[in-house]
């Protein structure tokens, strides 16, 4: 979603990250409901992970609000390259 917003819709990198996070709310809610109905969600593990994640999210979002456009592009681009390499290696 972030690359589409930046390269196609010409969003700034920071605004694209923020828009992506907001859009993930309804998307993940729909996904959780679907998987929840199928009985696949491990609630105990999710609660422990979420405990760390909501703390980490505040740290990350504060850093996003301050970071420069350039460092966000480098961080996000590097992250995508890493994901692509991991997908090929573990595939």
């Amino acid at each position: 979603m972030v690359p589409l917003l930046v390269l196609w819709a010409r969003f700034g990198q920071r605004e694209a990250h923020a828009a992506s996070l907001g859009a993930i709310i309804p998307i993940s809610a729909a996904g959780v409901l679907t998987y929840g109905v199928a009985g696949e969600v491990r609630i105990g593990h999710a609660v422990a992970l979420a405990l760390g994640a909501v703390l980490g999210a505040q740290v990350g979002a504060r850093a996003l609000a301050r970071a420069s456009e350039r460092s966000l592009k480098l961080a996000f681009g590097g992250f995508l390259v890493l994901v692509a390499v991991l997908m090929v290696v573990t595939g």
């Binding site: 491990r42 760390g52 966000l72 681009g77």
Partner: protein
């Protein structure tokens, strides 16, 4: 892994994925799913389902943090997400009709090219001194 060690590992990995999610505008599933499958031993379906239940509160907290700082437009983003949820269903149907290995390769190449382009843009901005 003992249950205390597992609990600590879950909270720590959750914190790392939350930071990544808040900074990069991703859900964090890309970190959570491999961890849950490879280290915790969940099935792929369980891992994806569980990661979504972590991604939801992560995205809510990160969005509220940004909203308070005046970054982005939360109502617009939520509307985009509702449309995106419909698109995701359509995309999943297309993906299901493709062989897994082909889909994975196409996706990896796409993600890799976009990543290289963003890094190049970033470096170019740096060279110009912004």
């Amino acid at each position: 892994m003992s249950s205390v060690a597992l609990l600590l590992a879950l909270v720590a990995v959750g914190a790392a994925s939350g930071m990544l999610a808040g900074l990069l505008g991703v859900g964090g599933g890309v970190l959570l799913v491999p961890f849950l499958v490879l280290a915790v031993g969940m099935s792929q379906h369980e891992a994806e389902a569980t990661s979504l239940l972590v991604v939801l509160p992560t995205a809510i907290v990160a969005s509220l943090t940004l909203w308070r700082r005046g970054v982005g437009d939360l109502p617009d983003a939520l509307a985009m997400g509702v449309v995106g949820a419909a698109g995701a269903a359509a995309g999943a149907l297309v993906a299901l009709s493709l062989p897994g290995a082909a889909l994975r390769t196409v996706f990896a190449v796409f993600v890799g090219l976009v990543g290289v382009r963003l890094v190049r843009d970033g470096l170019r901005t740096a060279a110009m001194g912004e």
